[in-house]
Symmetry: C2
Subunit: 448 residues, 2 copies
């Protein structure tokens, strides 16, 4: 029987996550719901009914202010702005569920590692070991203007992230011995000081003596998520990532990416199977292919070129603010952009690529297209994608929310269950790490 696939919901605590412009759709509740506790709890309960592995929260610091030289377009189209802090939502969702895991994005570029370690230990206690940390570095220079800290260049950010994680590992894994809390009433000893250790970390970025403020939690170290796509980012993922997110191309190119990641993990001294590789998948499932394609037409109809280009500007530093959607790419001097378009042009030599085309194409994500159709259609697509590339599962991005996720739970989930591709019930009392790496998997997979 084929392996079970990992299935996560992927969302942001912001009015409009990835499918730009869909806040306008009458069925989309995110604009109002993203700041409403009860709405989130309903979403968590929905995903647990669907036997999902986890709900995974994106987050960002700073605003997207490259397009047009200001943040107006980002504000106008709710491009990851406004946004609330996702970490404080999680215990409320944990209280409403028994099994669903939670992944949350937290940056290593600002804030002290001691604070992050305390936060994630707290979350691990309160979720009974269901927490994962999506370790990111912050790339928007605008965050510096919020007073969060000095903006760092790409490779420096990863150097800092390495040391940040090093400090956290020491606090989580080495500072408290098992059994340090003795509760010895006769001798008036709550905790045995000889079993609590300082970590004495002195590095380039951080000096942290410790000890850790929090007693060991079920997982000690949260499951480490990572999503670097640059060379330095992949090296970081190979070293630390227990689950690595990719925007993978389909077929052979996707297989190569997966192979490279597993090889990089092996080169870092790890068992390559200790890394779950998970693709960010845009999808629409409905009762029929026709109904799903009707919703895809709504995505296209609501799509905001300007909103997407604001996002694109933040990712790439390329400002397309001065160019109308029908401007040919060939007329704009921006090398990276031309390289992509030349690749696409080889697929269809007669099409002249415009700014609007570029936005539409990139907005479909790494797979080059969203998966759209009935449960049978989409399950076929997901299975084929997983089999031809070798990846382990999917972060599902859909819209409108919650409609899109309800369709997944009502139609796709039973289909995947019939095919033996998704659990029909959760194992009792397992941590998120145990769910992915087997009962008794207690320490981070990335550590010896």
């Amino acid at each position: 029987m084929a392996d079970e696939l990992i299935l996560n919901g992927f969302i942001q605590c912001s009015p409009n996550h990835q499918i730009k412009g869909m806040w306008k759709h009458p069925l989309d509740e995110t604009s109002r719901g993203y700041r409403d506790l009860k709405w989130w709890i309903r979403l968590g309960e929905l995903l647990e009914r669907g036997c999902f592995d986890a709900l995974f929260f994106a987050d960002v610091h700073g605003t997207y202010d490259t397009y047009g030289g200001n943040r107006d377009a980002a504000v106008r189209h709710a491009v990851q702005f406004p946004g609330i802090d996702p970490t404080v939502l999680i215990p409320a969702l944990a209280a409403a569920t028994d099994h669903l895991g939670f992944g949350v994005t937290y940056s290593t570029t600002y804030f002290p590692p001691f604070q992050a370690a305390k936060l994630f230990s707290t979350l691990d206690h309160l979720t009974d070991g269901r927490i994962a940390w999506n370790v990111v570095t912050s790339y928007l220079p605008d965050a510096e203007r919020q007073g969060l800290g000095v903006h760092l260049e790409h490779d420096e950010r990863y150097d800092r992230a390495d040391e940040f994680l090093d400090v956290c590992y020491k606090l989580w894994e080495q500072s408290w011995e098992d059994g340090a809390i003795v509760l010895d009433a006769a001798n008036d000893i709550h905790t045995d000081p000889s079993k609590i250790h300082e970590i004495d970390h002195h590095g380039r970025w951080f000096d942290v003596q410790g000890p850790h403020m929090v007693e060991p939690s079920p997982q000690r170290t949260p499951v480490i998520f990572q999503a670097g796509s640059s060379a330095r980012g992949m090296q970081f993922a190979a070293q630390h990532g227990e689950a690595v997110f990719v925007a993978s191309p389909q077929g052979a190119a996707g297989a190569e990416l997966v192979t490279n990641l597993r090889e990089a993990a092996a080169n870092a001294g790890r068992d390559p199977s200790s890394m779950k590789i998970i693709h960010a998948t845009r999808l629409i499932v409905a009762e029929t292919d026709q109904e799903a394609h009707a919703m895809k037409a709504e995505w296209d109809r609501n799509f905001s070129v300007e909103g997407f280009l604001a996002l694109f500007g933040g990712w790439t530093g390329i400002d397309l603010g001065g160019h109308s959607p029908d401007t040919p790419i060939a007329s704009i001097p921006a090398t990276a952009m031309r390289t992509w378009v030349e690749r696409w042009q080889r697929e269809d030599p007669n099409h002249e690529w415009t700014v609007g085309d570029l936005a539409r194409r990139l907005s479909e994500g790494g797979a080059g297209t969203a998966f759209v159709g009935s449960a049978t259609t989409v399950a076929d697509q997901l299975e084929e994608f997983a089999e031809t590339t070798g990846l382990d599962g999917f972060n599902l991005i859909t819209s409108p929310v919650p409609w899109g996720l309800e369709q997944v739970v009502d139609h796709l989930v039973p289909e995947l269950q019939r095919r033996g591709r998704l659990r029909t019930e959760y194992e009792p009392n397992e941590t998120l790490r145990e769910r992915w790496f087997g009962r008794g998997a207690t320490h981070p997979r990335s550590q010896p």
Copy 2:
């Protein structure tokens, strides 16, 4: 009819809050419960059943390492160590309740104000306007060894806190105009950029451009709690505090403290009634006086002198590590300590005060004694305290938990309600600020 009193539960996310040594009592569940979500939810539900105003969380950075020159005593007696991050608990408690307010301690000495502003706006959204921020400065030098930031001297900490709040007020009150979110689908405008403003803060401690990351929450600014007892701390409280916590003495001295605080508020240009003054009260209520006093005997029996002295060392910088509990204070050269003891000695000139006596006396708190007895007895004591001093209410500290709070809810609450001193039900749909300052009280009381 006499005014209603404010009633808050006061607790810390740590094994043993203020009543040192009570972790040993068989009825105390805190050691296990403080890291258990379901336990906290049960506590929140209990306080809402008791029509409490709010549940208020203490927190601290650093460990208490003055006593004996290390943190061993603090570890041994669970002196605010270990501890989890209280902020992430609150939405889970908000989901389990409809009215209970939440106050949480958050330091202005470390971390960027932008992050604090985002966090509290998030909490205000998720609690529907039931959040308060207990603004503190961090006094334990040990926090510097955790890499949280440079330890600051007392008055510098308050200068930084002033500017920290200034930044937060600007982000909360000035960055977003009402109605900035327009949801204009026809023109593809989610948020109107012309209604979002940078705050352009450039000060001694912080440079923050903004804009605020979070759209306006029900209260915009959380209710500001403050607890400074030094001259500089009281100045800070007079300027910012909407609720000020005191460890007030009883009678005339307490009345003087309350008068001074209200005068200081008036001098800062505020309506003195815009400041609620709340006393931290240790109490034990039971069905009978006898039963309550039996529990008080348990407090005394379990009391850990060493645990208290570890706490005392962190507060005062005085290390009593080398002195046994029966050492006379008069034999120890520490001026501040002698001053207090000389005052107590005037009350009872024949008693020779020892280190152990000092610990026991100080552990009773500012009122000089815990309130112990049946509901009638304790209600009498609370009413008399409030009337003779003019303060507005109480932060209740009790032990064991939850037993102590259950007794309060089952016995004291109905008695206070009979006397018209506590609501019998909550007003619907009011923010915490409206509960204390009247319907329509939207902006912070401390601001013009």
